[in-house]
Each structure stands twice: as structure tokens, then as C-alpha cells.
């Protein structure tokens, strides 16, 4: 067993163990909560980078048989380029939001409950990414999802509870669609191991039953990824959660549970049937347009960001749905970039709320002098999401637009350009209303946020600035290109 296969289960075990330790110990010794949360997320982030160093290139997968039972009988945990890509993205954001939460969550009672749920959610997300077994994927998906319902309701105020209930009902329906799809595929192929299932489905790409399962997966994972028309829960749920959780949910949760799982199943298991790809393209373009149109009119800072998440996920799905080499790289690159700048924006919104107590853009104004770090990092993130060179968002959008032109899908390319312009307009509004202009009397005594919150925001902003470098072959080859490699046609190769 190779080194990267040995550490694969730890991505689930560490956060899961830390979550239980938090419940056992930190409820008595409150100071342990921060320590456990930070240590666990730091360890998983470190391991993700270490695994990057071990260089599991391309579609060659390192397999860890759980409990020593070899696949296809036992559950396998698989580490390949795409898994590694998601693990690094998820765990960077998880560590930085945990760092931010140390100061931010002081305002809430029962910090240990927050960390316990946070770590459970992280364990679920990492589990979805590393598992090579379809039913196991469902179980991890539900672990992450149930933890996220509780986290959305964490403030237990009227709106938070309402949003959490709506989110929980819709997301449960999505999970049921996934479970039904898994049942159908299992009865068709008699296996649950993804690689084995892909082998069994070879030559049956267009058959009715796998297509039915594919539609159920698009519905289920589409609900988790908040693609239009399955998006109604996101603009309520993401703003209702505490800021670090909004950052996790919008930054990585909808991607690991939604986009990653969708790609894995549609591309690797079902062998990318043409009709499903056209559905993905259409849903991606629709999400882009609807999300940005709804975002432009919003005045609640976090709600505006939530609508932009729908729109940006549209870009990711559009890029991946093109299924050309350039489109895949562009889509995955945008996935990484969006994780970074959207979690940064939610942390910024949390910082503004922490300092001023409001999320309404109309009541802000002139905060630039009082909150220099927050306003500076917001400016960086806004320019990234709007696609201004040289920030990371520009390069990935450019790649997606080029890929659409190259595939002769001109309509989609025009959509992507128009949405980019509207995004820019929307974020000019944010920066103008929140940070520019004269400082009103009531914000004269506003103080900048504590150091750990600043540190988290600054690190994310630095990644936004230098993120474009991933396109250089020397930097991005083991990370970005080898992830895109996995989604190309053909079967997996076991290491």
C-alpha cells in the first residue's frame, strides 16, 4: 500500500475523533474547544499538502481497503488527482474558518457545540471526497448534511430556524433521490464500488436504467449544489448561519457534496452520457443567469453573496459540462477560486457585522477608514469574483469562456461574459455602499476586528492574488491538471 493510501482514512478519522473528543471534554473544559478544532483542521490541512507532495498523479488511484477487505467486496477509500484537489481546497478553507471562528464565535454561547458540529461536517465532506463506494458516499453526505442543518439553525432565532427547516426538508429530498439512484444502479450492476460499477456499465452508456439513475443523481446532487431550479433553500440557509459556517457552506460544502459528487458519478461511474452533459450545461447557464439577476437587487450583504454563490456554481458546472480538456481545467480552477474568494467574502461580511452589528448595505458606508483590513480584503475578493485581472477569478472565467468558444457553444460563452459584467456591477455596489464615502457619525467608534479574524482574511486574500499562478504548468501540474485528468473518458487505473 502506498503512502498516500495509508493516510487516506485519516482525513475522516481525525475530524470525526476530534468532534467526539470535543463533546466529551470541551463541554467541561471550554478552552479545549478552540484547541481541538484548530489542531484537527490544521492536521487535515497539513496532511492534504503532504499528500500533494506524495504526488498521486492523474487518474492513477491509491486505494485503501477499509478494514482490510479488498474492493469490490469491502469499502474502498480512493485517492486520485480529483480527490486530492478537493481535499486541499476543503481543508485550507476549513482551517482558515476555524481560525476565524476562535474570535468570532465568542459572541455565541456553547462554543464546543459549534466546534463539534463543524468537525462532524468536515468529516462528512472529507468522507464524500475520499470514498470509492457509492453507498458510503451517501452516508458521508448525510453526516455532513445533518451537521449543516444544525449549524444553520445555530443562532436559534426566528429566521435561522425557519431557514434551517426549509433547507433540511429540501436537502433530505435530495438525499432521497440520491439513495433511490444508488438503489437502481445497484440492482442494475450488483456492485457498489464505483470503479467496479463503471466497468459493469461500460457499453451501456445510453441504456434507460443508468440514465434514470443519472437523472436522479443530477436532481439529488443538484439540490446539494443549489443549481437553479433547485436553489430556493440556499439564499435563506447560507446567510442565516454564523459567518464561519456561511463561509464553509458557500465555499466548500456545496462543492464537495454537490459538484464533486455529481462529477464523480456522471463522469467516472456513468461514463459521461451526452444527454446528461447537455442537462449540466443548461443548468449551469441557467444558474449563472438567475443567480446574478437575483443578486443585483439585494441589500442584505450575506444574502447578496449567497445569490452570487448560485451564479458562480453555474460557471463551475458550465465549465465541467463542456467536458473538453480546457473546460474541465477551467471549471475545476473556478471551483478552487470560488472556494477561496467566496469564503473570504462571507468572512468579510461577518467581520462587518461583528464590528457594526448590521448586514444591511444601506446602513453601512464609509467603513474604509475604520476597518482597513476588512475593506482591503473585501476589495480583493470583490475584484476576484468580478473577474478583474490579475486576480484568480479572471483566469478561471477566461478559461471557461475560451472553452465554450472552442467547443462552438457561442451562446454559453456570451452568457458567461454577460454574467461576469453583472457580477462586477453588483460588487461595485457592495464596495461603494459599505466602504466608500464619508464615515457617518454612528460608525465613528467602530473598531477593527481581532487579530485571528484579520489573519484568516489576509491569508485568503493572498491566495486570491497569487491563485492565478496555478495555471503555470510548473505550479499547477500536480494539482489542477491532474484533477482534470481524472474526469477525462476512460476507466480508473489502480495503483
Amino acid at each position: 500500500m502506498s503512502a498516500s493510501a495509508t493516510i487516506t482514512p485519516l482525513f475522516v478519522a481525525i475530524p470525526l475523533g476530534a468532534a467526539f473528543l470535543t463533546v466529551l471534554l470541551a463541554r467541561r473544559w471550554g478552552w479545549l474547544a478552540d484547541g481541538l478544532g484548530l489542531t484537527a483542521t490544521f492536521l487535515t490541512m497539513g496532511m492534504a499538502f503532504a499528500a500533494l507532495g506524495l504526488a498521486q498523479r492523474g487518474r492513477t488511484a491509491a486505494i485503501h481497503p477499509v478494514g482490510g477487505w479488498d474492493p469490490p467486496v469491502g469499502i474502498a477509500m480512493v485517492m486520485d488527482g480529483l480527490t486530492l484537489f478537493l481535499l486541499v481546497t476543503v481543508n485550507i478553507v476549513a482551517f482558515l474558518t476555524a481560525l476565524y471562528a476562535v474570535n468570532y464565535m465568542r459572541a455565541f454561547t456553547a462554543k464546543w457545540q459549534f466546534y463539534a458540529l463543524f468537525l462532524l461536517m468536515l468529516a462528512g465532506m472529507n468522507g464524500v471526497v475520499v470514498t470509492g463506494d457509492l453507498f458510503n458516499l451517501y452516508v458521508f453526505l448525510e453526516i455532513a448534511a445533518v451537521a449543516s442543518y444544525a449549524l444553520v439553525a445555530f443562532g436559534t432565532e426566528r429566521h435561522e430556524l425557519e431557514a434551517a427547516f426549509k433547507y433540511a426538508i429540501m436537502s433530505t429530498l435530495g438525499s432521497l433521490a440520491v439513495l433511490l439512484g444508488i438503489g437502481i444502479l445497484y440492482s442494475y450492476t450488483s456492485t457498489l464500488n464505483m470503479a467496479d460499477m463503471a466497468q459493469a456499465l461500460r457499453g451501456h452508456e445510453g441504456a434507460a436504467i443508468p440514465t434514470l439513475a443519472g437523472v436522479l443523481f443530477v436532481t439529488g446532487f443538484g439540490l446539494k449544489a443549489a443549481l437553479v431550479p433547485f436553489h430556493a433553500w440556499l439564499p435563506d440557509a447560507h446567510p442565516s448561519a454564523p459567518a464561519p459556517i456561511s463561509a464553509m457552506l458557500s465555499g466548500v460544502f456545496i462543492k464537495s457534496l454537490g459538484v464533486y459528487a455529481l462529477c464523480r458519478v456522471v463522469f467516472n461511474v456513468l461514463g459521461m452520457p451526452e444527454p446528461l452533459l447537455s442537462v449540466l450545461l443548461a443548468l449551469g447557464a441557467l444558474s449563472m443567469l438567475v443567480g446574478v439577476f437575483l443578486a443585483v437587487g439585494q441589500w442584505d450583504f450575506k444574502r447578496l453573496l449567497a445569490y452570487h454563490s448560485i451564479s458562480q456554481i453555474g460557471y463551475v458546472v458550465l465549465g465541467i459540462g463542456l467536458a473538453t480538456p480546457l473546460g474541465l481545467v477551467g471549471g475545476l480552477f473556478h471551483l478552487f477560486n470560488h472556494s477561496i474568494f467566496k469564503s473570504l467574502l462571507f468572512l468579510n461580511a461577518g467581520a462587518v457585522e461583528w464590528a457594526t452589528g448590521t448586514r444591511d448595505l444601506r446602513q453601512m458606508g464609509g467603513l474604509r477608514r475604520r476597518l482597513p483590513v476588512t475593506s482591503g480584503t473585501t476589495l480583493v475578493a470583490s475584484m476576484s469574483i468580478a473577474g478583474i485581472p490579475p486576480f484568480n477569478g479572471f483566469w478561471s472565467k477566461l478559461l471557461i469562456i475560451l472553452a465554450a468558444v472552442e467547443a462552438q457553444r457561442y451562446g454559453y460563452a456570451v452568457c458567461a461574459v454577460v454574467v461576469s459584467v453583472l457580477t462586477l456591477a453588483s460588487f461595485m455596489k457592495v464596495v461603494k455602499y459599505a466602504f466608500l464615502g464619508a464615515t457617518p457619525e454612528r460608525w465613528k467608534n467602530v473598531r477593527e476586528v481581532p487579530h485571528l479574524m484579520k489573519a484568516a482574511m489576509i491569508v485568503l486574500a493572498v491566495i486570491c492574488v497569487v491563485g492565478g499562478a496555478l495555471l503555470l504548468p510548473a505550479v499547477g501540474e500536480p494539482y489542477l491538471s491532474s484533477a482534470a485528468e481524472v474526469l477525462k473518458p476512460g476507466l480508473w487505473v489502480a495503483d
Binding site: 445533518v146 444544525a150 427547516f165 439564499p235
Partner: protein, 112 residues
């Protein structure tokens, strides 16, 4: 075949209950019905006519063995469903505390 049809009818009833009812508790019951329908579907795909548990069936006749794997899946799915249902019920209780009603038309404060 009839059993499969009934299973999907049950699923449709569950989804109808979620969509049509305005009471939080009835919506939760709808989710439960839909969950049961899926669990039933998983049990059905394991079923073999005249089959037996693999432990009792003759060794050379896999066609007469009931597939045990979906049963394990259903057990897991029931546990997952329990967690979801308990959380939904807890949320419903907290909502009742705040709003004094289970009617979602009266709870609607967030715009879509």
C-alpha cells in the same frame, strides 16, 4: 411488479404531503413516508422469489439467495433517517416556541 408500483405510489404520497401540507409536523410525516418508500424499494431489489437467507440456501444456487447487501443498506439508511427526523422535529419544536404556530404560511418571513 405490483410491489414496485405500490412503492412508487408511496413515494408520490410522501412527496405530495410535503408539497401540499402547510403544517410542519405533516411535512415531517411526508418526509418519513417518502423515506419509507425508498427503504421499501431497497428491500424489494434484494427479494428473490422462493429465496432464502444466504446462510440457509444451498451453496450452489446463488439464484435462490436473498441478496443481503441491500438489507444492510436499509439498516444504515434507517439510522440516517432517524437522525434527520429527530433534527427536523427539534427544529419544529423550536419554531413553535418562537412563532406559536406550525402553519408555514404564518411562519414565512424570509422571501424566496
Amino acid at each position: 411488479m405490483g410491489a414496485y408500483v405500490m412503492c412508487f405510489v408511496l413515494l408520490a404520497i410522501g412527496i405530495y404531503a410535503i408539497l401540499a401540507h402547510r403544517n410542519l409536523i405533516k411535512i415531517i410525516i411526508g418526509v418519513l413516508i417518502a423515506q419509507c418508500a425508498i427503504h421499501l424499494f431497497l428491500v424489494l431489489i434484494a427479494f428473490r422469489r422462493d429465496g432464502e437467507a444466504p446462510l440457509h440456501a444451498a451453496e450452489d444456487s446463488p439464484a435462490l439467495m436473498v441478496d443481503p447487501l441491500p438489507h444492510a443498506m436499509v439498516l444504515t439508511a434507517i439510522v440516517v433517517g432517524l437522525a434527520t427526523t429527530v433534527l427536523l422535529a427539534a427544529l419544529a419544536i423550536r419554531i413553535y416556541d418562537k412563532y406559536g404556530t406550525y402553519d408555514i404560511d404564518k411562519i414565512r418571513e424570509l422571501r424566496g
